[in-house]
Amino acid sequence: MMEYIAGHYNYWLIIIIMMAGFYTVISRGNLVKKIAGLNIFQVSVFLLYISISNVKDGAVPIIEEGVTLYSNPLPHVLILTAIVVGVATTALGLALVIRIKEAYGTIEEDDIHNQDQSL
């Protein structure tokens, strides 16, 4: 049992980060905190991809003489794309938050909701 838990430590770590991020997105009313949570959530996925690309005893995937076993470089490339997407999402989200702050004067979800209701 202990071996099972210790042997999958990367997954435990990823699940903890993932849930921390996801919980932040759901539970916080502050729009900036939500985006921070979203980022943490996405980072856990990056870690998931990178950890599954590791091959036991595999070398860095750059061709070298005398090395036959390499780690899988493909997930790194995939996740590079996902990181760029994450940057774009964060930038767009924060830009929207700035516009919301200008339009409503607050970035708390409840206040925004109340303002829209009272119209």
Partner: protein, 499 residues
Amino acid sequence: MIENHLSLLIVVLPLLAAPIVAVLPNGRMPWSISTLVSWAVFAMACIQLINVSTGSVISYELGGWAPPWGIEYRIDAANALVALIVSGIAAVTLPYALKSVEQEIPKHQHSLFYAAFMLCFTGLLGITLTGDIFNLFVFLEISSLSSYALISLGKQRQALTASYQYLIMGTIGATFFIIGVGLLYAMTGTLNMMDLSQRLPELYEHRTIHTAFAFIMVGFALKLALFPLHLWLPNAYTYAPTVVTVFLAATATKVAVYVMLRVIFSVFGFTFIEDTPTDELFMILCVVGILMMSFYAIYQQDAKRLLAYSSVAQIGYMMLGIGIGSALGITATLVHLFNHALMKGALFMAIGAIVYQIGSSRIEHMQGLGKHMPWTFAAIVIGGLSLIGVPGTAGFISKWYLVLAAIEKQHWLIVIVILAGSLLAVIYVWKLVEVLYFKPADESGQTVSNQLTSRKEAPLMLLIPTWILVVANVYFGFNTELTVGTAEQAVKLLLPSMN
């Protein structure tokens, strides 16, 4: 030479247009180029649909790398039909856009607006045509990010919060999707959909595969606004600029439904689904969704929001076909996907024409407008009839197939729900018709705060695209060769075991 590369040019042409449009000066140029590109893409999509209508499959190797190592674009009857509807809607929305965008969006943002529109168009076509599941994620994010930006351009400040809400929900959905893809890759070592479908059957019992499936399903259920994950949709459709609402309502959710079809039937295979409670779950959610969302639609005071809730209910019909899971059910899903794009496109365009004239989409501001805008009013009536599913309109065909599918599997409750949903649709369509035609016009003029109010027929530039879609609604109500014929070909490819 060109004909060999059509599959790819459909996606690349709008991608090339986007940066060019972005740097052009604001004026008519960005609009003209976007329109021409959308027409060219529509023509190419027609050619490809004819090429695959016999049941053949076109495969295009990106960069000359053979699949499963390289990215493959794979066109069969199913995605050719979806590509046709996406490009077709873009081709009629863009001519409509000229007037509407001039009124709703500040002049200095026009070229960026059309650039974002082209990017969204590229993304939706890419999702449709790619045969590589990670490439699908990339295009999904291209279309999503540009649609967040497009929605936030709405005039009212609620557009910002609607866009933010969609951004959070959409990103969670997309991230769930890549978690699922990552788990699939960890188990099979491949990202090509065809290759996945061959490697998955031996792993059906594996728990990781089930987890991956659940993540992908929830992720896309968020994207396609399946009840109860639809919360972002009504706000986004209500507050977005008219053109964006027309385009997204008619294409974005449809493409997500197509991805569901592709993932469930091509990648995982129906035998896998039968072992899981997925189909029952879909049926329950759709039945509740259709009834609840149709009720919600009846109580809306804003025409755009009314149609948005009706959209969520209609998505229920599409997913119901997948839930039933028979050849007839999937035919109904594909046909309804096509027909619903036509009717919602027509209805949102007609409402958009009213918004263009009176500057509001609140129902109480529209009293008596039917007499002043007869053509727009007629478009709403015919589009509404199609939404209800009256014989002679496109909506009837898809509901007919759905009812047939339900009867074939003896799901009597579903038959009743489909009919009840149509009755509820009668109520909310009647609500629009009543206000527009039978309520006396409120001539005091103080109902609409701004001075845009003009109780005249909408300009031809708005009416012609609307009527193209209205005529299509009637045409596809009588001639089902294209829709049902292609859908049946697609079903043969999606469900090889059923033949």
